[in-house]
Amino acid sequence: MTIKLKTFASLAGAFALSFGLASAAHAADAHALSVKDAWVRWLPNNLPAAGYATLVNTSDKPVDLVDISSDDYGDAMLHQTVSNGSTQKMVMVDKLTVPAHGQAAIAPGGYHIMLEEAKHKIAPGDTVHLTLKFSDGETLTTPFVVKSPAQAK
């Protein structure tokens, strides 16, 4: 019993230590992540729109995108288009890993951020903002350019 307790105490100590180290690492890597080429493909009639971007991680550890929210949309979710033979379907995704010193593309035919329930009228040419939350604690509120589906490319 005592031994177990001791083990527990030392484990707790190790946890506290690693936690402290991790926080220190966070502070050093405060700007490890950035977002580029962020845009939304607008569709008429309040149809669900898709947001796309490239996430860049300059740190030496992989970081996960774990949550997306927006003041412009009631609902923002990461989805993946999955092919099964000739048909395709969308699946919800919990996280997207941005590799160390690498990028993760949220791009047509792969991942997209499904945007629903626009909170105000949104039209091509507007800029909307999405808040991306990462596993290292970093949060990025990023402007996304809203494009007409005819000129998306």
Binding site: R41, W42, L43, P44, N45, L47, P48, A49, A50, H79, T81, N84, S86, T87, Q88, K89, M90, P108, G109, H112, M114, L115, E116, S148, P149, A150, A152, K153
Partner: protein, 199 residues
């Protein structure tokens, strides 16, 4: 000796003629389905609410795409690629019609389709809907698979579906199948051949 020479010459001429043939029957970039799929034939409802049949699209090359408007990624991406194709075709785009046939007739009313295709290209794209039975039998005719997924708590749902684009020539004959892997350039090059064959 002279005989074998003439035989060789003869063989060379035949080979030359064959090579000529091969050149004319240049392979397509897209999947050639000529003779493997039935002609364009349907009775549906146009995005202006009027009944329409396949005969109204004769005389133009038709690009038929089965999709639905509540589809945020694949459908608008495919439509966007077709817009790029039209851009590459220049004035020949006048000879093309894009038919966006919904696999979600419950939500895609003529008005919804009208707004949707209008956001891409009101001039060349037309939205078509119909009864569940009309859509189902048409999809079956072209072996298009689609399936409604489970509704979310808000009652929204996705439709799993195939995203191929069917190319019919001006006579309404099924000619080519374009998939996600075909670039706008490849599609435009093949469409030009289809248009030239029938103009």
């Amino acid at each position: 000796m002279s005989r074998s020479l003439s035989t060789t010459l003869g063989a060379l001429i035949v080979l030359g003629a064959l090579a000529g043939c091969t050149q004319r029957a240049e392979p397509w970039h897209l999947t050639n389905v000529t003779g493997h799929l039935p002609d364009l034939d349907f009775t549906l409802t146009a995005d202006d609410g009027r009944p329409v049949d396949a005969a109204s699209f004769k005389g133009r090359t038709s690009l038929v795409y089965f999709g639905y408007t509540h589809c945020p990624d694949v459908c608008p991406e495919t439509m966007g690629r077709l817009m790029q194709v039209l851009g590459k075709l220049g004035p020949d785009a006048q000879k093309i019609r894009i038919l966006f046939i919904t696999v979600d007739p419950a939500r895609d009313t003529p008005q919804a389709l009208h707004d949707y295709v209008g956001a891409f290209d009101a001039q060349h794209a037309e939205g078509l809907t119909g009864t569940a039975w009309q859509i189902e039998s048409l999809a079956k005719r072209y072996r298009v698979a689609y399936q409604m997924e489970k509704r979310d708590p808000n009652g929204n749902y996705e439709v799993t579906h195939s995203s191929a684009v069917y190319v019919f020539d001006s006579e309404g004959r099924a000619r080519l199948l374009a998939t996600d892997h075909d670039t706008p350039d490849a599609i435009a090059q093949d469409l030009r051949r289809i248009i030239d064959d029938h103009s």
